[in-house]
């Protein structure tokens, strides 16, 4: 029971920490701006082009940040969750309270996930509000909640990659850069493979692409929506390469689960086993 209260204290703290971080707030602002910008562009397009999708405009507003930006946000949040406590010299404060390292880990991690979920929910709401305001009543609102959940789940992979980088390196800026490099390197590799396999079909190479960390994370939300709304398959998801083969939602989900579990374990082992780093003076 006590452990539960301690964890909820940590979750609330983590939300406050995220809000106090300029790096994170900038990214959140970028997400909201991207969304507002997108709708601005849509209103400028000739009505003949947008007529068919007007009722589904909310989906475009959700897909834009859910495909790429949300992962950059998640890795940034994750990368500072543990490392920043070492940098601030506050790890000693937490770890000399009646709290196991596992409880500390759970609390901070749950807080990071909660903040990510909050941002996803907020931009989804913003997309709904803007699209209704600009294009009128929206269709298939039954998909709003499951789409949001899929996006939150998809963000876990890079959230935990960031977390592990932060806990291993214990420097928030360095960890953010490393995790972001991993993200973009994976995206570029994926893109490269999709081009190669487009010209010379190579099933082994295409399958290898599915092992990349971005493969699941950047696809899950769009694949889920396509599975529910086949007619939208025509809309290219911004930023992602053409899918090399038919993708099942569960395949993307499995990829995310594997990365999440692996990096969660790495971070937890490092936290449980190593000395608490003193603040660099």
């Amino acid at each position: 029971m006590r452990a539960g209260r301690a964890i909820s204290t940590l979750i609330l703290y983590e939300l406050r920490r995220a809000v106090a971080r300029r790096r994170i707030i900038l990214l959140v602002a970028l997400i909201f701006l991207a969304e507002a910008g997108l709708y601005l562009v849509l209103t400028r397009l000739p009505a003949t082009l947008t007529a068919q999708i007007q009722g589904y405009a909310w989906i475009i507003g959700v897909l834009v940040p859910s495909t790429l930006l949300v992962h950059v946000l998640a890795l940034t949040i994750g990368a500072s969750a543990f490392s920043e406590e070492y940098e601030m010299g506050t790890a000693d404060f937490w770890l000399t309270k009646p709290l196991t390292r596992l409880e500390y880990f759970i609390g901070k991690t749950a807080g990071s996930i909660a903040f990510t979920a909050l941002i996803v929910t907020t931009y989804t709401s913003l997309a709904l509000a803007l699209s209704t305001w600009i294009f009128g009543p929206q269709q298939r609102l039954d998909l709003v909640a499951p789409t949001t959940l899929h996006t939150i789940y998809s963000a876990l992979a890079f959230l935990f990659i960031g977390l592990a980088a932060g806990e291993l390196l214990r420097r928030s800026m360095f960890a953010t850069i490393i995790a972001a490099l991993g993200f973009f390197a994976s995206l570029i590799t994926e893109f490269y493979i999709s081009i190669v396999t487009f010209f010379t079909p190579d099933q082994a190479l295409a399958d290898a692409a599915r092992l990349l960390p971005t493969w699941g994370a950047t696809r899950l939300t769009s694949t889920y929506i396509q599975s529910q709304l086949p007619m939208l398959a025509l809309i290219p998801t911004l930023g992602t390469a053409p899918t090399p083969a038919f993708v099942e939602t569960w395949q993307a989900a499995l990829n995310i689960a594997l990365y999440t579990a692996a990096f969660c374990a790495a971070a937890l082992i490092r936290l449980a086993r190593s000395d608490v780093t003193r603040r660099a003076l």
Binding site: R2, R5, A6, T9, Y13, R16, R17, A20, M88, G89, T90, D92, F93, W94, L95, T96, K97, P98, L99, T100, D275, V276, R278, R279, L281
Partner: protein, 312 residues
């Protein structure tokens, strides 16, 4: 000896770059104020962090109230309040937030939590700054806040790493009063410092650490008494010009005489010549005002340790 409340036995820590602290042994009784003193870099913080389970010792054993920090950290932390060296807290929280978070983690809630937070903020004298963001706190305020969050929940044991560092004299006085009050209520305090003066004023027991080893440990009274052979006496007279140093030196057992203004210092070796000295001074007509036996200061004790290590 059995029955120590805090006991560290042959603790050592080997850092990755080869720096080794220890082996260190120290022990404190329940209800004592233990002063852990040594120059910067001698290994105080390393020892304290190993005692709290923040660092894993490379060898040795720690027992605090019968608990082992590596296997029973949670049980131990219920009993311990800790203030780290050069405290820092999340700059975006207020002082009150910090204490409240500490209180929540210690398992307090509701009215009890509210009252406890108010109590420690008041006790440490930071109430008037409690609603300000920690990011704007001075060193001295951070130290007080750190002690405040350590005191929350009224822990049995306080472990404070350099709590006087960066604290102004008035606040130091207040901090000492807090320590003494805690001892009166039966708490055990272990604090480190690199300033001897701080120890002499409050500690019951001291451990002097030098280059990663405990060089001297014992109860303050015992350590500072001169031992069986040497007696040091300080006298004050009205007319020092009437005192004949040669006469004093001729007294039985006198090994040293020094006169500085109206203060006369005499050291006896192997003989208690205090009575003879007072008679000699009275007879000289110098006007004896006061005569007392003086103890060694911690500083002298410390310098002996340094000399011994430098020589050996």
């Amino acid at each position: 000896m059995a029955g120590w409340f805090i006991e560290v036995v042959d603790l050592y820590k080997r850092y990755r770059d080869g720096v080794t602290v220890g082996p260190i042994s120290l022990s404190a009784g329940r209800g004592q104020i233990y002063g852990f003193v040594g120059p910067n870099g001698s290994g105080k913080t390393t020892t304290i962090r190993c005692m709290l389970g923040l660092q894993r010792p490379s060898g040795g054993h720690v027992s605090i109230a019968g608990l082992d920090p590596t296997t029973q950290p949670k049980e131990l932390m219920r009993m311990v309040g800790y203030s780290q060296e050069l405290p820092s807290f999340p700059p975006f929280l207020t002082g009150r937030d910090v204490v409240r978070v500490a209180a929540e983690l210690k398992g307090l809630s509701g009215e009890e939590l509210r009252r406890e937070v108010a109590r420690v903020l008041d006790l440490t004298g930071i109430v008037s700054h409690a609603n300000r963001k920690v990011g704007g706190y001075s060193k001295g305020m951070l130290q007080r806040l750190s002690v405040a969050q350590a005191l929350v929940g009224d822990p049995e044991i306080l472990i404070l790493d350099e709590p006087m560092l960066g604290v102004d004299p008035a606040a130091r006085f207040q901090m000492r009063e807090i320590f003494l009050e805690l001892r009166r209520s039966g708490k055990t305090i272990l604090f480190s410092t690199h300033e001897l003066l701080e120890l002499e004023r409050v500690a019951d027991r001291v451990g002097v650490i030098y280059r990663g080893k405990v060089a001297v440990e014992g109860d303050v009274g015992e350590l500072l008494s001169q031992g069986p052979r040497v007696i040091r006496v300080e006298a004050e007279v009205m007319r020092p010009q009437l005192v004949n140093p040669a006469l004093l030196e001729s007294l039985e057992g006198v090994s040293r005489v020094s006169i500085e203004g109206s203060i006369i210092r005499v050291e006896f070796d192997g003989v208690d010549g205090r009575e003879a000295l007072s008679e000699a001074l009275v007879r000289s007509g110098a006007g004896l005002l006061r005569l007392e036996t003086v103890n060694k200061t911690l500083e002298e004790l410390f310098m002996e340790v340094v000399r011994r290590h430098a020589g050996g």
